[in-house]
């Protein structure tokens, strides 16, 4: 599988990234190199290599349904660019 111009533009749209036309070729090249690296890794013979420790045989622990967090709004909103009436303000999102 190789990345082409269309793939790059689709990914840019999904990621909400602006991409100048002269950046596209460079991006295609970079992404293809990542895929090449994956191909290279997959080609390595790992038959006698012990797998790393993974959590995949573990299961999730659940938490009791108890409220332990308290209101931190004032503190949390100090890092927000714009707030008013307790709300976070963002550029208008409806058309």
């Amino acid at each position: 599988m190789a990345v082409n111009k269309e793939t790059v533009l689709t990914i840019a749209t999904l990621a909400h990234l602006e991409m100048a036309p002269d950046q596209i070729d460079d991006q295609i090249d970079r992404m293809n190199r990542i895929l090449d690296l994956v191909d290279e890794m997959q080609a390595v013979n790992t038959d006698d290599v012990e797998p790393l420790a993974t959590p995949f045989d573990q299961v999730q622990r659940l938490r009791p349904d108890v409220v332990t967090e308290s209101d931190q709004r004032d503190k949390l909103q100090t890092v927000a660019p714009r707030t008013t009436d307790g709300l976070y303000l963002v550029p208008r999102v409806v058309e």
Partner: protein, 480 residues
Amino acid sequence: MSDWQIVIGLEIHAQLNTRSKIFSAVSTAFGAEPNTQASLVDLGFPGVLPVTNEAVYEKAVAFGLGVSAQINHRSVFDRKNYFYPDLPKGYQITQLADPIVEHGNVDIELADGSTKTIHITRAHLEEDAGKSLHEDYAGETGVDLNRAGTPLLEIVSEPDLRSAEEASTYARLIHKLLTSLDICDGNMAEGSMRCDANVSVRRYKNHPLGTRTETKNINSFRFLEQAINYEVERQIQVLESGGRVTQETRLYDPDRNETRPMRSKETAMDYRYFPEPDLLPVVIDDSYVEAIRERLPEMPDEKRERFERAFELTTEDAETLSTNRALADYFEQVATASEPRLASNWVRVELLGRVSKDNFDMAQVPIPASELATLINRISDDMISGKIAKTIFEALWNREASSVDAYIEAEGLKQVSDSSDLAPIVTSIIAANPKQAEQYRAGKTKLLGFFVGQVMKETGGRANPKQVNDLVRSELDATG
């Protein structure tokens, strides 16, 4: 229109009534000041980790058992990626390939009395998003993230529904199940249950399905019917005029009774789902499921049948009293401590005349079941008349009285049913109205009611009407 078949599937989002959120230990209480119930986890700060609430699993499993579904012993959370300000992480944690519940079904009753099985594809756990407020901030959107992370059970039906009526009947049944199982408060006005309707039409049965549209976030049964009917008509018009239905997401506007496309999408949405790396699979076993099955409350239909049997109620009355769990519990307490059919009347007429069946909330009912039972017992044992009982009910409702017996005593409301007390009153009333007495004896027996009324008035409504009737009649007949 008759040669079009309507095909509908519903996605119902039910907020689970847990105390804390699905992945953070933050309160889910409705109506708090904006963003006072939004923690680092809910806001999607870097470096934080979700920790799953055990109660969401119990509730999802209870729902699965309630719809005779398969409970998956291993379920996995996934990330659904999209950008919207009310989803600060940039992804919603949901379950795609391995949901907790699959392959359920429920039977709905159709208008002609027959039943139809509606299949439930799946029910999966996910987190709710925050709320965007577009109105009050010029050029900007205000975001309240209190709702972000509220646990949702998304219940997806097969496209088995064939009309707006069937869809709303099914939605009502799911609502009843959710509230009876006590896993969702069912308050649709507060958004505790929301429906997305997938609607398409096709020329003939068994033809391939037509292109569908999805109308989102419908928050009442009436709007659900209206939105579907609008969408069906619109699609048929488009197709009959040679056009094609666009697969899109639409929004129902109840003010104009129409649906509109929600957002224009040049490219089809690609959510790039992948397994949530912050959460391991959840594994449950048979004993976990069986323990929940044992604790499962009675289902609404079972309850209705039991009410019919145990309390000798009509199906219709039993249905009214069993739909809402809080109401059913209240009625049952009254009915077991008094005469059940009287209890049924009082709860249905007097109580439900003051508080809605659908949003029955014990916090709004100032009369304990035990007091209503006492009130009914005082009617049964002839201590008070039905009319006096209503004034006592009124006093209890307005919190002017708290104990029925104390109030009867204090206000002297005891029915006068001692003949030696009533007889002199009857005699004096007849003596005071000689003309009417004469007419009665001449055959105008309808005047009996007049004398009874006078006696009732004289006793302040406390006389036993049946006894007054007998006394007046014998007195008039005797002194002729």
